[in-house]
C-alpha cells in the first residue's frame, strides 16, 4: 500500500490536505498507478496516470434491468489536483452478462478497446462524449472522459407542464431535429465498423450550454456476426418511439390513461406492438391521432406487423429527415 502524501509532489500536498474530499477522510489517502483492482480504490485516493494526479471525488451511478441506480466503482469521478479539471475515469472491467430482448438472450460484455476506438474516431465530434485513452502502469486501458454538463434527454423532454399534444407541436420538432443529428452520429460509427453498443434514452445528454444532444458510454459490445448493427438500430427505434410518445406505452398504460382507456386498447392488434417487446405499443398513431403518417410509418418499421426492416441506420436517418419536414 502506498500513501498519497509519500508519492505526491510536495507542491500538491497542501491542495490534497485541504480539498473538501480529504478533509473528512478518516484514513490516509492511498496512491495508485495500477488500476487493476479498482475495488481497492476509494473516495479520496489518488490515481496517477497520464502525468496527472487525479483525486477520486465520487462515483458515477446507473440504473439497469429495473434495478435502482447502482454505484459503478470502475467509473470514478476525479479531479486533477494540479489543474483542478474534472473528469470521469473508466477503469478496465471485463464484465459479461446476458441481456434479454424479447424472447432472445444476447451475450454482452464491456469492451474497453472498442470504447477507446470510438473515442479516437469521434474526437471533436459535437454529438459524442469526448475523451482519450491511456495505459496505466499495469497496461490497463483507462479512459479519461470529459464531463458532459447537462441533463438526460429522457428527463429533459418532460420539462414544462405540457400536454402530449402541446409537447408534440411545440417541443417535439426541435427534439427531432437534434435527435436526427445523433442518429447521423451512429451512422458515422457504423460506417467506420464500430457500434455504440448501449443505445438508451438516458445515454443521450442535452448539453446545458449549447443544447446539443451528446451520446455517452460506448464500452458495451455484443456479438452478432450477421447483423452487427441490429441492436443499435433497434434501440434507436426505441428512443424514437419514446421521444414521440414522451413515454413508453404498454397495454396497461393505455387502459389507465384518462384520454384512452378501453376504447383505444380495443383497437390495438398484435401488429401494433414492438417486434421484440411484445407488450410495448409502437403504432403510436392509434394513441395520438395527430402524429403524421410519415413519422408513424417509421415507427411501424419496428413493429411486429412490419414486412420491411431498416437494414441500416442511414435508411432510418433519411426517412426521419423527410418526416421532419412535415413536423414543421
Amino acid at each position: 500500500m502506498e500513501y498519497a502524501l509519500d508519492k505526491l509532489p510536495q507542491r500538491l500536498h497542501g491542495r490534497l490536505r485541504h480539498h473538501r474530499v480529504t478533509r473528512s477522510l478518516r484514513r490516509p489517502p492511498q496512491f495508485f498507478t495500477d488500476t487493476s483492482n479498482f475495488t481497492a480504490i476509494d473516495y479520496g485516493d489518488i490515481i496517477a496516470i497520464d502525468d496527472r494526479f487525479l483525486l477520486v471525488t465520487g462515483y458515477t451511478r446507473e440504473g439497469r434491468f429495473g434495478i435502482d441506480e447502482q454505484v459503478k466503482p470502475w467509473v470514478p469521478r476525479v479531479e486533477d489536483l494540479e489543474s483542478e479539471e474534472k473528469f470521469i475515469l473508466k477503469l478496465v472491467f471485463h464484465e459479461t452478462f446476458d441481456m434479454q430482448f424479447g424472447q432472445f438472450t444476447i451475450n454482452c460484455y464491456r469492451n474497453p478497446e472498442k470504447e477507446a476506438r470510438v473515442l479516437e474516431l469521434v474526437k471533436g465530434h459535437p454529438h459524442f462524449m469526448q475523451g482519450r485513452s491511456i495505459l496505466d502502469e499495469a497496461n490497463n486501458l483507462v479512459r479519461i472522459l470529459d464531463i458532459v454538463n447537462g441533463n438526460r434527454l429522457d428527463k429533459f423532454i418532460h420539462r414544462g407542464e405540457l400536454s402530449h399534444q402541446e409537447y408534440f407541436y411545440q417541443k417535439f420538432p426541435e427534439v427531432m431535429r437534434q435527435f436526427l443529428k445523433c442518429v447521423k452520429g451512429i451512422q458515422f460509427l457504423h460506417e467506420n465498423d464500430l457500434r455504440h453498443g448501449d443505445i438508451r434514452r438516458d445515454h443521450i445528454f442535452v448539453d446545458r450550454d449549447t443544447g446539443l444532444y451528446i451520446w455517452i458510454d460506448f464500452d458495451y459490445d455484443f456479438y452478432m456476426p450477421e447483423r452487427p448493427f441490429a441492436l443499435d438500430l433497434y434501440e434507436l427505434g426505441n428512443i424514437l418511439t419514446y421521444l414521440t410518445a414522451r413515454a413508453r406505452f404498454h397495454e396497461k398504460d393505455i387502459l389507465m390513461h384518462p384520454d384512452m382507456g378501453r376504447a383505444v386498447l380495443d383497437t390495438i392488434v398484435p401488429g401494433d406492438l414492438s417486434v421484440l417487446s411484445k407488450n410495448r405499443i409502437v403504432n403510436l398513431k392509434k394513441l395520438f391521432p395527430y402524429i403524421p403518417d410519415r413519422l408513424n410509418n417509421i415507427l411501424l418499421h419496428f413493429s411486429h406487423g412490419t414486412e420491411v426492416f431498416y437494414e441500416t441506420v442511414a435508411e432510418l436517418h433519411d426517412e426521419l429527415g423527410e418526416a421532419l419536414t412535415v413536423l414543421g
Binding site: 460484455y109 469492451n111 478497446e113 459490445d221 456476426p225 447483423r227 452487427p228
Partner: protein
C-alpha cells in the same frame, strides 16, 4: 451469367445444410460436367475472445478442424451419389464482413453460377436481430442463381 453447373454449397452442422446438400446431389448426380464446392464460412471470434487469452490462430485451427468434420460428413453423403470426385472444399473466416457477404465473395472469386443455402425458417424478430444468411445472399445476388432449400 456464370455457368450454373459450377455450384457453391454453403454447409454447416445443421440439418437444413444436409437437406440442401441432398437436394443438390439429387439434381447434379446425373450431370457429367457439374462441379461442386462445399463452403464453410465461420464468423470472426467474439471481441472478448482475445481478452480471455485466446489467439486468432487457435480460433482458426478450431474452426478448420470443425470444417473438416463437416466436409467429411458431407463427402460421405455425396459419395452415395457418386459425386465425390467432382467436389472441392473451402473454409474461410468472414473477416470484417458478414457470413452472407463472405459467401458472396467466394462466389464472385470462383465465378460460381449457383449458390445453395439451407433456410432455417426464422421468426420476424429473429431475422431482425440475427439476420438471415439466405436472405442476405438473395438480396445481393447478381449473375448467378440461388437455391434456398427449406
Amino acid at each position: 451469367m456464370n455457368d450454373w453447373k459450377r455450384i457453391l454449397i454453403a454447409v454447416d452442422q445443421s440439418q437444413t445444410s444436409i437437406k440442401a446438400l441432398s437436394y443438390t446431389a439429387d439434381i447434379t448426380s446425373n450431370l457429367s460436367d457439374a462441379e461442386l464446392c462445399l463452403l464453410y464460412i465461420y464468423p470472426e471470434p467474439p471481441p472478448n475472445y482475445y481478452s480471455s487469452g485466446g489467439s486468432l490462430s487457435d480460433y482458426q485451427q478450431q474452426k478448420t478442424a470443425a470444417a473438416e468434420v463437416i466436409f467429411q460428413n458431407s463427402m460421405e453423403l455425396l459419395e452415395k451419389y457418386a459425386l465425390g470426385e467432382k467436389v472441392t472444399t473451402r473454409c474461410k473466416m468472414a473477416d470484417h464482413i458478414t457470413i452472407s457477404q463472405a459467401v458472396l465473395e467466394v462466389q464472385a472469386e470462383g465465378k460460381f453460377g449457383t449458390v445453395v443455402v439451407g433456410k432455417r425458417g426464422v421468426s420476424k424478430a429473429e431475422e431482425f436481430l440475427f439476420g438471415s444468411i439466405s436472405n442476405g445472399i438473395v438480396h445481393h445476388c447478381h449473375d448467378f442463381t440461388v437455391w434456398v432449400v427449406g
